[in-house]
C-alpha cells in the first residue's frame, strides 16, 4: 500500500500542470541543498581542528560531547521553524477502504526524507571516524552512530508531533518556547545546571558502556509511538487542516482611508499580508533583515560597497521579498479584481503606497545604525530613494510577466511555489543596478559623487513615475489575459 501511495505521489508530481518548471526548480533546489551539505561536510571534516582552536585547554572528545546536546537543541528549533508537515496528501484516501495504520505509516515514512535527518550524521561522521574510532574502537563508534541516529529520529518525530499540537492549539508553542527559554536561562544566567556538562556526562557514559546507545533508540521508538497514536486519534480533515476557529473581526486602517481607492486597495493588501500564512512569514523574514548591517558594519574598516548593498536590502527588503511575487499574491481573486470597478491606475498606485509605507518603516528601523557613523544613515536614505524610484518600477515590470499562482496558506520556508524564471532574472538588475552606477565613480576616486548620482537617479524616477506607470499599465492591459489564465491554473 505504501508503494501505491508513493506511485500516486510521483504521478501527482509528474502530472502537475507546471511540471516542467517545477523540475527545473527541483534541480536548482537540489544543487542548493547539495552545496549546503557539502559545506556541512567540509565543516565536519575539520571539526576536530575547530574544537582544538576553540577550546585549547580541553581534550577534543569531551568538548565534542559537551556540544552534542546544544546541537540537537538548535536542530529541534530549526525543525520547528522550517520542517513541513506531510498531511494534505492523504486527504483523498481517508474515506476509502484503507487502514488508518497504513496511512500513518506512509505519513511517517515520507516525512523522513528531509535534509534535517541527513545533516547530524554528515556533520559528526567524519569526526567519529577520525577521532572516536581510533581512540575507543568500533563498539563505541557504532554506539555513537546509533545514539546520534536515535537523537535525530527523536527530534524528527518530536517536532512533527509538536507542530501538529501547535496547529490545534497555539498554547503548545508557548509551552515549548517557554521551556527552551527556561533551560537556556538556567544554563547561562543562573548557572543552576549546565546542558554542556549534562551532554558531556551522557556521552561519557556512552563511551564507557556502549550499550547505553539503546536508550536513545528506545527514546526514538517511544516518541514515534506517541506521534503514531496521536495521528491515529486525530486523522480527521478538520484537525489535519489547521482550522483556526477564533472570531475574526473586521478591521479598518484609517490612515489609508485618505488615499481614496488606492488606499482601500492597499488596506486590502495589508489584510492579505496579515491574514495569510505565506505573505505573513515573508514579511516577518523582512524584519530579520534589519540585522543585516550588523554582519558588515561590525568590522573596523568597512568600505562604501557594503553600505550600499545593506542599505538597499534593508530599506528595500519588503519591495524585493514581497514584490517579487506580485501579482501572484492576489492570484486567488484576480478574476474578481479584473471584473470589478477598479481602475488599473489605482491598482498600481496601491502597490506604490504599500511599497512606500513598508520601505519607510524599514528605513526608520535602520536609524540605530547611525552608531556606525552618519555616512551609513545618509547612504541608507539614498538607497531608500533608489528603492522607491527604481526598484519599485523594476519589480512591477516583472510582476507583469509573472503568471504563477500562489497558495497563500502554505509556509514560505523552502516554498518554491510561484518561483519562476522571472524571479531569477529580476535579481540581476536588482543586485547590480546601483553598483554599475557607483563603480566608475569609485574607480575615479569620487565615491561621494557616485552615491549622489544613485540618489539623483532614484529621485529622477520618482519624479517621472507617472510616465513609467502609464507604460506599466499599457503592458498590464496587454498581459492581463495571460496573467489571469495562469492564476486560474491550480
Amino acid at each position: 500500500m505504501t508503494l501505491t501511495f508513493l506511485i500516486h505521489q510521483s504521478k501527482a508530481f509528474w502530472r502537475s500542470k507546471n511540471t516542467g518548471k517545477s523540475i527545473a526548480m527541483r534541480i536548482v533546489m537540489g544543487i542548493l541543498i547539495l552545496y549546503l551539505l557539502l559545506n556541512v561536510l567540509v565543516v565536519a571534516f575539520f571539526i576536530d581542528r575547530i574544537l582544538e582552536k576553540t577550546y585549547p585547554n580541553q581534550e577534543i572528545i569531551p568538548s565534542f560531547n559537551s556540544l552534542l546536546m546544544y546541537y540537537f537543541l538548535i536542530d529541534l528549533l530549526m525543525r520547528f521553524q522550517m520542517q513541513e508537515l506531510p498531511t494534505l496528501a492523504v486527504r483523498p484516501y481517508l474515506h476509502l477502504r484503507i487502514n488508518k495504520n497504513q496511512l500513518i505509516n506512509y505519513l511517517s515514512l515520507t516525512s523522513l526524507g528531509t535534509a534535517f535527518n541527513l545533516s547530524p550524521l554528515l556533520l559528526t561522521l567524519p569526526f567519529l571516524i577520525k577521532v572516536i574510532l581510533p581512540e575507543h574502537g568500533p563498539a563505541t563508534f557504532s554506539a555513537y552512530i546509533l545514539a546520534i541516529t536515535g537523537m535525530t529520529l527523536t527530534n524528527h518525530f518530536f517536532s512533527l508531533w509538536l507542530k501538529r499540537k501547535v496547529n490545534l492549539n497555539a498554547m503548545w508553542m508557548l509551552v515549548f518556547f517557554g521551556t527552551l527559554i527556561l533551560l537556556v536561562s538556567l544554563d547561562f544566567y543562573f548557572n543552576l545546571f549546565s546542558i554542556s556538562a549534562l551532554s558531556a556526562q551522557i556521552f561519557k557514559s556512552l563511551i564507557n558502556t556502549p550499550l547505553y546507545c539503546l536508550i536513545f533508540l528506545l527514546l526514538a521508538g517511544i516518541i514515534y509511538l506517541i506521534n503514531y497514536r496521536y495521528l491515529k486519534n486525530n486523522l480527521y480533515l478538520e484537525e489535519l487542516h489547521s482550522a483556526d476557529n477564533s472570531h475574526k473581526s473586521s478591521t479598518e486602517i484609517p490612515f489609508l482611508g485618505k488615499f481614496g481607492m488606492a488606499g482601500d486597495l492597499a488596506a486590502n493588501e495589508l489584510k492579505l499580508i496579515l491574514r495569510n500564512k505565506r505573505p505573513r512569514s515573508v514579511t516577518m523574514m523582512s524584519l530579520f533583515f534589519m540585522f543585516y548591517g550588523l554582519i558588515f558594519y561590525n568590522r573596523p574598516d568597512f568600505s562604501v560597497y557594503p553600505i550600499i548593498f545593506c542599505g538597499m536590502f534593508m530599506t528595500g527588503i519588503f519591495i524585493i521579498n514581497y514584490g517579487q511575487f506580485m501579482f501572484s499574491w492576489q492570484s486567488a481573486h484576480f478574476d474578481g479584481i479584473l471584473v470589478s470597478k477598479i481602475k488599473t491606475k489605482d491598482f498600481f498606485r496601491a502597490k506604490f503606497l504599500l511599497f512606500t509605507m513598508f520601505s519607510t518603516i524599514s528605513f526608520l528601523l535602520t536609524i540605530p545604525y547611525v552608531y556606525f557613523g552618519w555616512r551609513v544613515l545618509a547612504i541608507h536614505f539614498i538607497m531608500l530613494i533608489w528603492n522607491l524610484g527604481v526598484n519599485t518600477l523594476l519589480i512591477l515590470f516583472f510582476a507583469n510577466r509573472n503568471f504563477r499562482r500562489i497558495d497563500l496558506s502554505k509556509g514560505s520556508a523552502f516554498n518554491w511555489e510561484g518561483v519562476g524564471a522571472s524571479q531569477w532574472i529580476l535579481s540581476l538588475p536588482l543586485l547590480l543596478g546601483p553598483f554599475i552606477i557607483f563603480l566608475p565613480f569609485n574607480l575615479l576616486d569620487y565615491p561621494e559623487a557616485g552615491i549622489v548620482t544613485i540618489g539623483l537617479i532614484g529621485l529622477l524616477f520618482i519624479v517621472t513615475r507617472a510616465y513609467w506607470v502609464n507604460k506599466l499599465i499599457e503592458q498590464f492591459q496587454e498581459k492581463r489575459y495571460t496573467i489571469a489564465e495562469g492564476f486560474r491554473n491550480e
Partner: protein, 236 residues
C-alpha cells in the same frame, strides 16, 4: 439603444478545439437570459469573454455598443459572480461588501442598510459571524458573491451556476430576486444553470449551447421545459 449586449463573430478555441463560436447574438435591455448546456458546452468561457477575462480568438463582445476589451465603462454597470475566484477570501463578508460598495462610492452606512434586504437570503449565516470568506461553506460563499453583485446596482447581472451549491430555500429566494430584477427594474440578467426547472421559471429567453454554438434560442413558454427535457434526454 436597444441592445444591451451584442456579440459578433465570437470565437475561442483551445488546442484546435472550438470552445465558443457565436456568429451573432443580441441581448436587449431588461431581458433575462437562461444559458443551458451540458458540461463543456462553453458557458463559462462565454461568460469569461463577456467579462473580458479571456481574450477571444476572433470577434467581439459589445456592451452598450462598446467593445468590452477596449473600454472599462462596462464595469460601472455590469456585475457578476462566476466562481470563488471573484471573492477576496481573506476578508470578512462585511469587509468585502464595504470594499465592493466603496468601488461604487457608497459609504459603509449605505451598504449596511442595503444589506438589510438580504437578511432572509443570508439566513443568518453570513453577517456578524466572525469568519473570513475562505472559512464559509461553498454555498455561503455563493451567497456572498451574489449579494456583492446585487449591491452594486447593476444594469447587467451575470451569474454562472448560482443555484448549484445553495440550499432549496435560498434557491427559491434567489429565483424571486432574479425575476424581480428583470421584470420590475429592467435589469438584464444572464444566468446559467443545469437545472432546467429553475431557468425556465426565471428567464424569458433560453439559449441552449452545444459544443460552443448556440443551437436554440427560445422565448420561454409553457412548452419550453418539455422541449429542453426532450433535447437533453435524446443526447443521453
Amino acid at each position: 439603444m436597444n441592445n444591451m449586449i451584442e456579440i459578433l463573430n465570437l470565437k475561442k478555441g483551445y488546442n484546435g478545439v472550438t470552445v465558443v463560436n457565436i456568429p451573432q447574438l443580441s441581448i436587449k435591455r431588461g431581458e433575462s437570459i437562461g444559458l443551458v448546456g451540458n458540461n463543456g458546452a462553453g458557458k463559462t468561457t462565454l461568460f469569461r469573454m463577456m467579462l473580458d477575462l479571456i481574450r477571444p480568438d476572433a470577434g467581439e463582445v459589445l456592451s452598450k455598443e462598446k467593445n468590452v476589451a477596449n473600454t472599462e465603462e462596462w464595469k460601472d454597470y455590469t456585475t457578476s459572480y462566476l466562481d470563488e475566484g471573484f471573492l477576496i477570501d481573506y476578508l470578512t463578508p462585511e469587509e468585502y461588501f464595504h470594499f465592493i460598495g466603496g468601488l461604487h462610492n457608497k459609504n459603509k452606512a449605505q451598504i449596511d442598510s442595503e444589506l438589510v434586504q438580504f437578511t432572509e437570503f443570508f439566513n443568518g449565516e453570513i453577517l456578524k459571524k466572525g469568519k473570513y470568506i475562505r472559512d464559509l461553506s461553498k454555498g455561503n460563499q455563493t451567497k456572498v458573491g451574489i449579494a456583492a453583485s446585487l449591491i452594486q446596482n447593476p444594469e447587467v447581472l451575470m451569474l454562472d451556476e448560482p443555484f448549484a451549491n445553495i440550499d432549496p430555500s435560498t434557491q427559491i429566494r434567489l429565483k424571486n430576486i432574479v425575476k424581480e430584477l428583470s421584470r420590475e427594474q429592467q435589469i438584464t440578467t444572464i444566468v446559467s444553470s443545469h437545472d432546467l426547472n429553475h431557468v425556465t421559471e426565471v428567464c424569458d429567453r433560453i439559449l441552449l449551447m452545444e459544443k460552443g454554438k448556440i443551437i436554440k434560442d427560445i422565448a420561454t413558454n409553457s412548452n419550453t421545459l418539455q422541449e429542453l427535457e426532450q433535447y437533453f434526454s435524446v443526447l443521453s
